[in-house]
């Protein structure tokens, strides 16, 4: 079960909320001397997801990310079509692309990827299971349009919100919460987030990595 039935009287990592306004600053040409050449865009998404770890939801600050539409290209892979939340978990190399793509990779590239073994794909993405709460939308594909209400979050699209009502997880505006992840799903989100931030860039690798 992706979502927990029944909601805790507290905010948790992965909760789906509404009622928050998000903002982002755009600076085309940053300089050492701050100028007024920037813009701030405002977004009011239908739903946002809590990305603060449960114990860090406190002191008037929370990190949120909007629920966004999934990529139509995910539906080119039969393994994902069966259950798009498979993107949240580790998978075999041969399942990470469609069978036709895998076949066209060639033996050498296939062997290279097989040596990696099961691991994650799409390091920054986490899929949210379909729910009647979410609006359906249409994905345009060569093979024909697909209607879905799967959504996803992007770990690179985070927003810090100041809100004086957020004292701690229990003393917070949890009445804005619509969905709560099950313990298993929240564990999957935590693991993928941890892996996202614990990737070691090639330039930092030592012989032991």
């Amino acid at each position: 079960m992706f979502y927990q039935q029944g909601l805790d009287n507290a905010l948790r990592l992965g909760d789906v909320l509404s009622g928050f306004v998000l903002s982002a600053t755009t600076i085309d040409d940053p300089q050492k001397v701050i100028s007024t050449q920037f813009s701030v865009s405002i977004e009011i998404p239908d739903f946002v997801v809590v990305l603060s770890p449960c114990c860090s939801i406190e002191k008037g600050v929370i990190t949120l990310t909007p629920l966004i539409e999934v990529r139509s290209s995910f539906f080119n892979n039969p393994y994902f079509i069966e259950d798009l939340t498979r993107i949240n978990r580790i998978m075999r190399p041969e399942d990470s692309v469609s069978p036709s793509v895998w076949k066209n990779l060639g033996q050498e590239e296939q062997n290279k990827r097989l040596q990696e073994g099961p691991t994650f794909a799409f390091s920054n993405l986490f899929i949210y299971e379909k729910n009647q709460l979410f609006k359906d939308y249409v994905l345009h594909r060569k093979e024909g349009n697909t209607s879905t209400n799967y959504y996803m979050i992007d770990f690179k699209n985070t927003h810090k919100i100041n809100c004086s009502k957020i004292i701690n997880p229990q003393d917070s505006p949890f009445h804005l919460k619509y969905l709560q992840l099950s313990i298993d799903s929240r564990s999957e989100l935590r693991l993928k987030l941890a892996k996202f931030y614990s990737r070691i860039p090639d330039e930092d690798r030592t012989g032991d990595d």
């Binding site: 039935q5 029944g6 990529r71 691991t119 390091s123």
Partner: protein
């Protein structure tokens, strides 16, 4: 402060849900990973064993302690461009 009626609504939701709850006042559900399986057991509030709720396959294939051994990511972005 949260309006009083909202607190009542959420209390109702929590107490009358029909699905799996992580914890309640009377018992708690704990998942123990064993090899490639996960054993879900029900414990009393003082930690005494009540029963097995479910036996599941560990969907992660691996244990959390092994996660750091994963080499990297499947590099597949080029195959999923919009």
């Amino acid at each position: 402060m949260v309006p009083e009626h909202s607190k009542i609504d959420y209390s109702e939701l929590k107490n009358h849900g029909t699905g799996s709850h992580g914890e309640s006042e009377d018992f708690k559900i704990v998942t123990y990973p064993i090899d490639k399986y996960e054993i879900v057991v029900k414990l009393s509030s003082d930690g005494k064993f009540i029963g097995i709720v479910a036996i599941k396959i560990n969907k992660d294939f691996i244990q959390q302690k092994q996660l750091h051994l994963l080499k990297g990511y499947h590099d597949v972005e080029e195959f999923y461009k919009e």
